[in-house]
């Protein structure tokens, strides 16, 4: 390198001496154009930097906006109520034998216990008897899940029967949103009436209301009550679906790429296959959903809504991406490597698997991650195969009904209840985190292969 520069400067000096008499020397010309070229370079650098900054700012705005909206979803207001486990309200015969008692506890009337306990709390003292309207408004303050909290508690501790117990239950999502928006105590707001606001103020001054970390967002499944809804079901569904996708698409894609790049003869057929693969990468994803419905569900009769079917459909979608990226990575391995190995007497198989593949692995992994990340955010093809659904039970196998995170986000975003807005943003954050984890794993894997 340095030699060639030296020789070129020598050349210019020589030229200088020859053309000394011309008005503009070449050195002057070069220095002049050099300035211009440097300016050009600087301008390009600035534009590039601005583009990066702009992109970065957009991402930052997006994430701050989502995070700000998601914050309310991570905490939840609870309220302490005095539950009166009267056997008459429960409709339990408390003189019955212990075994019978546990049976009765399963089917007891906990709704009545909840309601009467609440009415009891608010109709004592200076306040008058509650009207029918009051009672309705009062019960609306508490989550519909409160009766199940009460039930679980009694079943865990059967000796609570006929006792008055202090118990923390969740507040309704309307009240929860109201408390999160910082209305002045006792003032009506959002979907809380003046009377309800006064009750809340009373509970608040008695220090019966507490804001806690919303653990159930991670441990519960979908629900139509925002205060109960969680992402466990959707997250499990996503992991199962991605597991199937990864298991199918990665080996298939890499094998296809290796065959096409290293073994396949170069003729018209392979050309046609190549064009087809490139075209498939651009096919709208919903088309793969239709294919899944027609072939996988209708012909092979696999169950609707199952992560197995979702995984297969997403595999079809990601395969072209993985094949194209893997082929590019394999192509980039210098031919000298192959020739050297072949020259030493290695078979084609040995060359491919012990020399070419390790070299191409970083690129292949990048392609795989791009494919998986694409599949992670898909909803459209899943609509056709029944994964856009309300599913409460957490899937335990790839044949159970399941939904995935982006679908959960879509369904929550479409719900009328206002508290789902925060849940939607929180679920988006979880999805982004998942994506980040996958990307980091890929980077770590890649650097490991690159070191080798």
């Amino acid at each position: 390198m340095t030699n060639s520069i030296k020789s070129s400067t020598d050349n210019t000096q020589m030229n200088d001496s020859i053309q000394q008499k011309s008005t503009v020397t070449i050195t002057e010309k070069v220095t002049k154009s050099l300035k211009k070229r440097h300016r050009k370079e600087k301008r390009f650098k600035i534009v590039g930097l601005l583009a990066v900054l702009f992109g970065f700012m957009l991402v930052l705005t997006l994430i701050t906006d989502i995070t700000a909206k998601a914050i309310p979803a991570f905490h939840q207001h609870w309220v302490k109520i005095d539950v009166d486990y009267k056997s008459a309200w429960l409709n339990i015969d408390d003189t019955a034998a212990a075994t019978q008692l546990t049976n009765q506890m399963q089917t007891a009337n906990y709704r009545k216990v909840l309601r009467n306990s609440i009415y009891q709390m608010f109709s004592t003292g200076a306040e008058k008897k509650l009207t029918r309207q009051d009672k309705r408004q009062l019960t609306k303050l508490f989550s519909t899940n409160a009766e199940f909290t009460i039930k679980d508690k009694l079943i865990a501790k059967p000796n609570y029967i006929n006792k008055k117990i202090e118990l923390w239950v969740k507040l309704d999502d309307d009240v929860d949103s109201y408390l999160k928006e910082d209305f002045p105590l006792g003032e009506a707001g959002l979907r809380v009436s003046k009377k309800q606001a006064e009750w809340i103020a009373k509970l608040s001054t008695e220090q019966r209301i507490d804001s806690r970390f919303n653990l159930s967002f991670f441990t519960a499944s979908d629900s139509r009550e925002p205060e109960l809804a969680g992402i466990k079901g959707a997250l499990t569904g996503t992991l199962l679906t991605m597991f199937v996708t990864l298991l199918l698409s990665f080996p298939l894609g890499v094998a296809g790429a290796i065959y096409l790049e290293e073994f396949a003869p170069k003729n018209r057929w392979t050309d046609i296959i190549e064009i087809n693969i490139n075209n498939l990468a651009a096919v709208p994803s919903i088309v793969f959903g239709l294919l899944g419905l027609a072939v996988i569900i209708n012909i092979f009769e696999l169950p609707r809504s199952a992560p197995l079917v979702g995984g297969i459909v997403l595999t079809l979608m990601t395969l072209p991406t993985i094949i194209i990226a893997s082929r590019a990575a394999i192509k980039a391995v210098p031919p000298s490597l192959r020739e050297a190995a072949l020259g030493l007497g290695a078979s084609k198989m040995q060359v491919t698997f012990s020399h070419v593949l390790p070299q191409a692995m970083p690129g292949i992994i990048t392609g795989g991650i791009i494919g998986i990340a694409q599949a992670l955010g898909e909803t459209a093809p899943l609509l056709m195969i029944g994964m856009v659904a309300f599913i409460v039970d957490v899937p335990t196998s790839i044949l159970d009904s399941a939904t995935v995170l982006p679908v959960q986000i879509f369904l929550w975003a479409d719900s009328p209840e206002r508290a789902f807005l925060a849940k939607t943003s929180a679920a988006i954050l979880v999805l982004l985190t998942l994506l980040l984890v996958i990307n980091i794993t890929a980077t770590v894997l890649r650097s490991k292969f690159e070191k080798k």
């Binding site: 009769e301 696999l302 719900s415």
Partner: protein
């Protein structure tokens, strides 16, 4: 030699893939014959109500929580009517009544015994931000504002491309703002209902168009159901929450969506008074609010007894605590049926009286 090897290879691949297919179908057959979860498909408008019942049903009984898919009314009907096989859905939600053509499709595929369940009503509102003036409008005026072609201003029986730019062009009493309405796209059930109830309702105010219904039905439908395409009616996607957010940002715009969204956002939005009556729970329930539609779901009778819990699910759905005047579905924005109607429907449903559609 190579030819033989090749054919051998093809054979092995073929047998392998066949065994895989057989294995997979074995798994599913085992699964399908013992399906223990009720599955429902259909309308995204009925989805919020059916899911609430499903969730409660799952919590209160020994049965698994039913799976409710949101596929849209038409898509749901196709799946529901495809056959009586056990892997087809048991229930189908619908934001309108089952059509004769769909009923025929069902019959053709062997789904002959269907129970219809009317669950209640849903109002459709034309709402704007409550920082703006409350609109007082008639169905006829909405038709004139949004139809693609409207009767000429001179009162002759001639159709012209919609010339109205401002609300006040239609009626001087309306605000002098640009007509700007955000609404659902044609794929939505809400849009169907809007066209049927609002636009057609306004359309019928012109007696000569109404008379056309008997003579040339398709022409009548074209006039009454076509929405203008000059960016006065903006299709805002299926997501009603999006419309709500856009309305608060732009007080001059109006939005069309289901009553439950207005109910949830009554602190920022107000529903226009239509034909002298504003949208309220009571007004929709007693029918005095002009734009409300019935919501249904359909039951495949052949699956009752095969999939556990269907009858119990129907009992829960039609119970007083769910569909009643003060039931939990009303908290979610469903407008309940009257007590009398509920009793008769409950009786029909629990005895699985098959639907007969004639037209």
């Amino acid at each position: 030699m190579t030819k033989i090897m090749k054919s051998k290879l093809t054979k092995t691949v073929l047998t392998l893939s066949l065994t895989a297919a057989a294995l997979i179908s074995n798994i599913t057959n085992a699964q399908n014959s013992s399906r223990d979860t009720i599955t429902a498909v259909g309308s995204s408008t009925v989805y919020p109500f059916s899911t609430v019942v499903a969730e409660r049903f799952g919590k209160n009984t020994e049965f698994k929580t039913p799976k409710i898919e949101s596929t849209g009314t038409g898509g749901g009907m196709k799946l529901f009517c495809s056959s009586n096989a056990i892997n087809t859905p048991d229930l189908s939600n619908a934001s309108r009544r089952m059509q004769k053509s769909e009923f025929d499709m069902c019959t053709k595929n062997g789904v002959t015994s269907i129970t219809e369940v009317l669950i209640g009503y849903d109002g459709i509102v034309v709402a704007n931000s409550n920082t703006a003036k409350l609109m007082n409008i008639s169905l006829k005026e909405i038709f004139l504002a949004l139809a693609k072609e409207v009767p000429a201003k001179d009162g002759s029986e001639k159709l012209v491309t919609n010339p109205y730019k401002l609300w006040s062009d239609i009626n001087p009493a309306l605000p002098a703002n640009k007509i700007e309405v955000l609404g659902p796209p044609p794929t939505s059930g809400t849009r169907d209902a809007f066209a049927e109830l609002v636009l057609e309702g306004g359309c019928n105010q012109f007696s000569w168009i109404k008379a056309m219904k008997k003579q040339d039905k398709s022409k009548y439908k074209e006039i009454c159901h076509s929405v203008r395409e000059d960016h006065t009616y903006i299709e805002a996607g299926e997501n009603d929450n999006l419309i709500v957010q856009k309305l608060t940002a732009n007080p001059k715009a109006f939005g069309i969506f289901g009553f439950s969204f207005l109910d949830q956002n009554s602190d920022t939005l107000q529903g226009a008074v239509i034909n002298g009556q504003g949208p309220s729970f009571e007004a929709i329930s007693d029918g005095s609010y002009a734009v409300s539609r019935p919501l249904y779901f359909y039951v495949k009778n052949a699956h009752v007894g095969k999939v556990p819990g269907i009858l119990e699910f129907l009992t829960e759905y039609t119970s007083e605590t769910a569909m009643g005047e003060e039931g939990y579905l009303t908290d979610k924005g469903l407008i309940p049926l009257g007590e009398e109607k509920l009793t008769s429907i409950r009786k029909n449903v629990l005895s699985l009286t098959p639907l007969v559609l004639t037209e």
